[in-house]
């Protein structure tokens, strides 16, 4: 029998349907694979008993003819999503021991479709990071190495990409605030998809920056992404920013036909100092699009260079408020100094519970909202954010999708950028603008750099037009024919 962990979700779905395999078999193999991948540190909590229980239910469903796309498919869940009775800490020390009494809508949608949870996945603390080095549970390793050197998987969805690239999950939930799905997907040769803001419910997703946070998926193929995205998407009355729009059949969008589609190439994304091989790969992507019959259109997004500074005001501001609830009163860590009062408890708990990057962002966010600085920073940033969104709006009057590199570099080594916050923030230079504008986007693996590390291209679409993003991604995937696999050194 073939190695079931190497199947795509689409392949497994078909085999399950035919009765050639059971979800229990598929799940057992994956549980073993999860254990074998401990060296990656992708999982911070494993749930094998729950997985098998869900697998048996899925098998019954399939027998009863009630199979859906995700029925019986073992997946990993980013620790950001609340899972009832199971470790949910956004990989922060401050949520020590927290087991929610509720389920996030995104995960509930998966379980309603019969999916199987292998465990909770590592991430940057509160999704703040681009290398998965800020997790309280230690860094995640990228299955792809630079020679003998370990590399970061990107962030913040490091556990998600690592588990999927390392065959320890068929797919994983992830979340994007400024690029936390697309950048790590690019670093690990996986397909990352972030939908339009409002497409997935944020209910039960630990908040980082509410106006930006959006759930998405990590899978090994575009088709798998379409299948899993369809499962987690949908309107939810419990989230006031969730939008009541029907969820299309994303898989049906994978027609392979992009003839006549206009693909925009933003001139501002030609960054000075970007590695030549990334420029070259981008050019290669453009050629593939042309060959598939698409029309390439040069576009301008004039406020691109202001996206990162805008993001680093808006996101920390919202975070400083969203993270105020972690105060040691109702859940998680509590640290009371001897003879300390309430305020001492707050200060000690939050000092002990938050890591350096989280503290840094809370401090920045508190400062930019404080009296006398609000207009100069926060209000200014929200105005520039509007200009950035307007740039995209104008561009999308001319094009159907936008093609850019996903990240300005391939995966880097641990510690390489962790001493310089701004250097780390620059990782998200291509992903942040679309996050600020709430647009759907993907990262498609297209090739390897000179060090044998994967690189991805980013495809962005109009609001609510995930179908075009999938369609173009599918064509890109086929043209690139990215079949490279990491050497399985961790097993």
């Amino acid at each position: 029998m073939t190695d079931l962990t190497k199947l795509t979700i689409a392949e497994a779905r078909d085999l399950l349907k035919k009765g050639d395999i059971t979800s229990r078999e598929l799940t057992e193999v994956h549980i073993a694979s999860v254990d074998a991948a401990d060296a990656l540190n992708a999982y911070i909590a494993k749930t094998p008993e729950l997985a098998l229980e869900q697998a048996d239910k899925a098998d019954a469903k399939i027998k009863a003819g009630e199979q859906k796309g995700m029925t019986g498919i073992p997946v990993g869940i980013k620790d950001l999503f609340a899972t009832k009775g199971v470790h949910t800490q956004a990989c922060s020390h401050i949520l020590d021991g927290f087991k929610p009494e509720y389920e996030s809508t995104v995960t509930q949608n998966l379980w309603d479709d019969g999916a199987v949870m292998l465990g909770k996945l590592n991430m940057d603390e509160f999704a703040m990071g681009s290398s998965n080095e800020t997790s309280f549970y230690g860094p995640v390793k990228n299955p792809w190495r630079r020679g003998d050197t370990d590399t970061v998987p990107g962030g913040s969805s490091g556990g998600s990409v690592s588990s999927v690239a390392g065959f320890a999950a068929m797919g994983a939930t992830a979340s994007d605030t400024g690029g936390s799905i697309r950048q790590p997907a690019s670093f690990t040769g996986t397909f990352g998809f972030k939908p339009t803001y409002g497409r997935c419910s944020r209910y039960g997703m630990v908040a980082f920056a509410s106006s930006l946070d959006q759930a998405g998926t990590i899978t090994r193929t575009v088709r798998d992404g379409a299948i899993m995205m369809e499962s987690i998407s949908g309107f939810d009355v419990k989230d006031s920013t969730s939008v009541d729009m029907p969820v299309p059949n994303f898989e049906a969008a994978l027609t392979g036909d992009i003839r006549g589609k206009k693909i925009g190439i933003p001139q501002e994304y030609h960054l000075a100092g970007m590695p030549a091989e990334i420029e070259a790969l981008w050019q290669q992507g453009i050629e593939w699009m042309k060959a598939a019959g698409a029309e390439i259109v040069d576009i301008n997004l004039p406020h691109t260079k202001y996206a990162l500074p805008t993001y680093y005001i808006v996101a920390p501001a919202e975070a400083s408020s969203n993270l105020a609830r972690y105060d040691g009163v109702r859940y998680g860590l509590r640290d009371v100094p001897q003879n300390g009062g309430l305020v001492d408890m707050y200060e000690a708990t939050r000092a002990a519970g938050f890591g350096d990057e989280v503290k840094r962002r809370i401090m920045i966010g508190t400062y930019v909202l404080s009296a006398g600085y609000y207009d100069a920073y926060y209000l200014k940033a929200q105005k520039v954010r509007q200009l950035i969104a307007d740039d995209f709006k104008r561009a999308f009057e001319k094009v159907d999708a936008i093609l850019t590199p996903t990240a300005p570099s391939a995966a880097f080594a641990f510690g390489e950028k962790s001493d310089d916050p701004i250097a780390m923030y620059l990782n998200d230079v291509f992903t942040v603008p679309a996050s600020l504008a709430g647009l759907p986007g993907s990262s498609v693996p297209v090739g390897l750099d000179a060090n044998g590390l994967p690189l991805g291209l980013q495809i962005l679409g109009k609001p609510w037009d995930e179908e075009t993003v999938f369609k173009v991604s599918g064509v890109m995937e086929e043209a690139a024919n990215f079949t490279a696999k990491p050497a399985e050194w961790w097993r």
């Binding site: 927290f98 087991k99 929610p100 009494e101 803001y197 409002g198 106006s211 930006l212 009355v237 006031s240 920013t241 939008v243 009541d244 202001y306 500074p309 805008t310 680093y312 005001i313 105020a324 105060d327 040691g328 009163v329 109702r330 859940y331 860590l333 509590r334 009371v336 300390g340 009062g341 309430l342 305020v343 001492d344 408890m345 707050y346 200060e347 000690a348 939050r350 000092a351 938050f354 503290k359 840094r360 809370i362 401090m363 920045i364 508190t366 400062y367 100069a376 920073y377 200014k380 929200q382 105005k383 520039v384 954010r385 509007q386 200009l387 969104a389 916050p421 701004i422 504008a437 709430g438």
Partner: protein
């Protein structure tokens, strides 16, 4: 514009309720100044007559009907509490 000194860091830390040891204030001031100096490039952008973005979603706020549909779950509410007594959350007293 930004010139965060030690005292400002201490003030922000106090507002954010994060204890920061005295010897960490100076280095943190440096870090924050770096970041703020970097974000201040937004000053180059002319934003006269631009409305700040209120939401990236072009939708109206939905209203919920006035029905009691939740609550009555004291156990769930208190389940993760570091300290709960007699149905209350228990915290150290405020020291004046």
């Amino acid at each position: 514009m930004s010139n965060i000194d030690k005292a400002t860091v201490a003030k922000i830390a106090r507002l954010a309720r994060i204890k920061i040891e005295d010897d960490k204030l100076e280095p943190l001031a440096g870090e924050l100044n770096n970041i703020l100096g970097w974000v201040e490039q937004l000053d180059e952008v002319n934003t006269d007559d631009i409305q700040p973005m209120s939401s990236v979603v072009n939708a109206k706020l939905r209203w919920r009907q006035d029905e009691v549909s939740d609550g009555d779950k004291q156990e769930s509410v208190l389940k993760n509490a570091p300290n709960a007594e007699y149905g209350f959350f228990a915290v150290p007293k405020v020291i004046e």
